[in-house]
Subunit: 369 residues, 4 copies
């Protein structure tokens, strides 16, 4: 991994996501230019000391030289470094998984495309939303023609966390995003507008051919745009609207997509990401749920749990394990909020009492002893 | 880990959850009594061959003998083995994290309580729902007295997957749950009713003192209950209702809790687990969102992402990484649905075009080249 | 109309509802025992002075004597008068529409049943919820067998407005409901529990045969119950739970019904009354919307507006008309929030400007002149 | 009333709305140019035969000549007649309530503005959505500055009912809307776009100064627009987007408004019209409910029912009354789905049985007798 040290938001997400299914392990990294932070990050994640590198060049060279060196590099730096790190990794014969955007600007992106082609290696870009099961289901519905010819696509991605000039108050996440040298020419449009753009094309199945943009820097003193409203025309004739904002105070992370065809329309919302709502001209609306057997193969493949278990289930479980690990590491004699054997006894008392007294009216539930 | 081999639902969840935060690694296991399945599970999860054991006794003995042997045992077998595995691990000086219920019956649970006390080791029980940030927030609200004295608690946990006698059609998950020898005296009540019971006490802050139960075996031929309706009386005077069902056809996994006090009430629903709704006698309703800065410490500690990023975010990310890992492992030249450099170029073209033409009306977006 | 004078909640609802479709007019009434209030109510509703009566007996006698006297009596008094007013009206040959409950107690109800039979007149009881289009659709679905044999019915009706002893602070609505002489033996159960009971049988299609009740008077000093939890067994074998509460602080008027059969389940909630959600064992969930062409005849007949126009549409419209009527009555030169011709000009300017400049980029919208 | 005869959608809404609060009566009309339809409409609504007029001129003349003639004219004709009817009524000294848009085009609208001013009479325009309590609350919040300076306004009004060329299949509603001679230059924009425009200015509190429009006639052969996407700039600097569509197949009548200021944002949706959601930068979200005591005076004034009683309550009630009226008119001996005395007896049996057996376990509920 390159980047992702303390204070980063997306680095830890890459680490957790990469390791979740047990096929990938974080084994090496150059997490921060600051030595202390670099070591802290590496050790927290179980990386051996000799594979915590001072910079990405050292990392690439050393890992290529190891017998069982890393095969895939996760690029999670600020935008301005995406190109050079990705290109170097590819040249060295490593696969790349890069956070978005691919590069700082279009020229770099084109150069990187050539580098990918020349390398024969895989290059992946984490437009996260393409990974949601119900986004993949939506794409399948459009591809199969379920909705008829697509006529209209509206995508809205609203946040409010840049409503104040927090980049001038030391917010690291806001800081680099507001600096053209690190973020590129796009502010909100480059940070979240591209996600909206990508998902519109990914699901809608047609490329944007023309656009009419109204970008604004709403917060006084901000250089880059923090609010975007864009009219779209797609190949094939569909019209669309893309709204992205980081100054919609109160909004959290509201990505919402609707695609309408001749006979029906679908809506997907990030805050309800396990559901896909489909409305029809002449029939009841449908709600498709992640994890269901009736979904398409790409959607089914994206769920680790039965339907009705929102993906937060794993994290809730992980909270218990992490509390337990903390208690073990600290040598504590209890694990805080983690239910313990007293809760276990109590549960069994509940079950046995209820079964024994079934249909017989009121009985006492003795407190566990 | 003991149990959790191929076909299990909860074993993989334990593995992913335990490893998520990087503090715990799965290093050893006895995953299945079937040799082939045991090895398959261990290898899929990166366990070294010499730490894949034929049974839990071997595992405990061998791991205790290693210099850096396992410290914590995850018990994910069917219910009837929970006691013996947990007790053996504790006796050997290992911490235990057990899937619920703690044991097959109350007598075993009481015996295990003594074993825990004697061992001086930690024992955790994965009543999963206690790990959700907004469940912890709800508990804090009740403890702080925000709602006034608690008067009523309603908890409903409805599933529909046992609406047909699938245990007689080879469904492994349904099979052991329907067999009293493996599951204990409780069917639905032991499988999900205890979760509902536990969350009601965990959040409501008072113990159940009396109950009046109506349990039924609705599907013909089923021995254990598959539907439960129970009236509750809590210490302190609150009344309550617990509804649990596995034959509510169409229901997915609908756990829903409401707690009402003298001046307000809260509602939490598993299908919207990042939200906590609070209604007041004389003021606007509130919706609290996971990850927000205004939450209590226990709730904040349970989120890995900023507000508005539902926890499925990690899994969506992981889908991209897993597709990438699959492509690498298979030596494929593309990574399927994972966005690639062409998408990266396209995104940059979108940003640059929109910024350059901002406010100038319609322009073409050239297809990437 | 008998009852419904100033301070009443349900009287005005009866008047508006009765007149809504233009088939019924309020022409006479005995609205209050207090002369001034009686006259005020009658005049506000356009009743001729000579048809505002001092009591219901006078009203019945006088109206029967008129050539075109009233045909239908709406009984909207407190519960303890329902019987005598209804019986008197029926004896006089008038049809009756009574607010619920039918009478103060069961003995009266049985006597009234005889009176209805003897009279040959129609007797209707406003269990309001049976009038909702989607409740009628739900009933049809059960009757048609869409869900298979019914197994479970859960109905919940929660309010919070009696969380404090408001009946002792002069709240007229709370006052008579808390007084056994006026309300009967049931408090919450008689006020809203019967609605829940009625809708469960109306939709579920089977009668309750057995019950197990836990009723409480939660607010200190209150005589009648204000919280009810009841286990139910229906003819045919379905089990059920009925929860009714008026001390669930923060709850507004949350009536919610779920009915599960062998292959699917339906859920209807009063706060989303235009929707009916249906979940299936093996297929996407469905949401049926009031006013849709695909609904059953009884459901279609209950909508006055196209789908997507929630019934509040009429009231929103009525707010404009009422503001207008107020302005006319007061001789004011403007009608407050009612949009006027300036808004009309502005709207036309918007339309013409947008149409004229379609596709041509930015243009000014001149302020109306 | 002028217009609104059989087949019209909005005429009956005007009639019900005008009469709802008992301050206005429909006493006269020219409902249709077709004699039979004209008489049918008038009689169905209880208008005396001698006040059903052949055309609006006759109506105005005759009503002005009556001692207690009509004071207010409701104009519910197709758009092309709005001007002449409204102007004639005003000239004759009558108040006017007109359906929107005010006139066929801008020139007429300006002429009508002069006519209103000259008449000294009131002129109201039914931009319906301004009548919703929670829209009025939203307006108050913006006016009070609760959200800080307004930065962004997004309004979306989507329908799908014109997804096919139904105007060529005899759909009367679609027919006149698709004909420029009757509807004016705007199709979708004139029909629903102006509602969206009006509500954006009504709530947002600032006028649109510039716009950039993308209108399309998506259905082949249609002359007027059926889909609109418009970028907006408001006085004071706020940006906005207006989306209106009648070809979003599956959409019902989805009007949705969001307004974001410096410190918070509000969202109102027609399909959940009793709720107003407010999101804050640093505090829990709020949901305000219609009918609550904490609302502003304009919002409180717009509710006829306690909170939690969606306005459909009146219509549900009305369904019972109408079924009753039908049964009376037809001389039937039962009133169909209207609950009757058997239901009344049953309800009382339920209450008495539950109260008598409270806390005593299971008892039989005898079927009513």
């Amino acid at each position: 991994m390159v980047g992702g040290g303390p204070g980063a938001f997306i680095g830890p997400v890459h680490r957790m996501a990469a390791e979740l299914d047990g096929h990938i392990r974080l084994v090496a990294g150059a997490f921060s230019r600051d030595d202390a932070k670099n070591n802290a990050a590496g050790r927290a994640w179980g990386v051996a000391d000799d594979r915590i590198y001072a910079d990405y060049s050292q990392m690439i060279t050393a890992e290529r030289a190891r017998e069982e060196g890393a095969e895939l590099v996760a690029v999670v730096t600020p935008n301005h470094l995406h190109f050079e790190v990705s290109a170097a990794a590819l040249r060295a014969g490593l696969h790349v998984m890069s956070d978005k955007p691919a590069t700082l600007d279009l020229a770099e992106a084109r150069a990187l495309a050539k580098a990918v082609a020349a390398s024969g290696k895989l290059y992946g870009l984490t437009y996260t939303y393409t990974g949601y099961p119900m986004v993949r289901e939506a794409r399948e519905m459009v591809r199969r023609g379920d909705l008829g010819k697509i006529r209209k696509i509206v995508v809205e991605y609203t946040q409010g966390w840049l409503s104040k000039p927090v980049e001038r108050d030391g917010d690291k996440q806001a800081g680099w995003r507001a600096d053209p040298a690190l973020a590129g020419v796009g502010g909100c449009i480059g940070d979240i507008g591209v996600h909206a753009f990508n998902i519109a094309e990914f699901v809608g199945g047609a490329l944007v051919e023309r656009l009419c943009a109204d970008l604004a820097s709403v917060v006084p003193g901000r250089i880059l745009d923090d609010d975007c409203n864009i009219l779209l025309r797609f190949a094939g004739g569909a019209r669309g609207v893309l709204i992205a904002s980081q100054i919609s105070a109160g909004a959290r992370n509201g990505l919402r997509l609707s695609v309408h065809g001749e006979i029906g329309g679908l809506t997907w919302s990030h805050e309800r990401h396990t559901e896909l709502t489909v409305d029809w001209l002449d029939a009841p609306s449908q709600v498709l749920h992640a994890g269901s057997a009736y979904l398409s193969a790409p959607a089914r493949a994206g769920s680790r749990l039965p339907t009705g278990h929102p993906e937060g289930f794993i994290e809730a479980f992980a909270n218990l394990y992490t509390d337990m690990a903390d208690a073990i590491a600290a040598g504590r004699s209890d694990a805080g909020l983690v239910p313990g054997i007293a809760d276990g006894v109590r549960g069994m008392a509940f079950v046995e009492t209820a079964v024994a007294a079934n249909g017989q009216g009121w009985v006492d539930l003795e407190s566990a002893a």
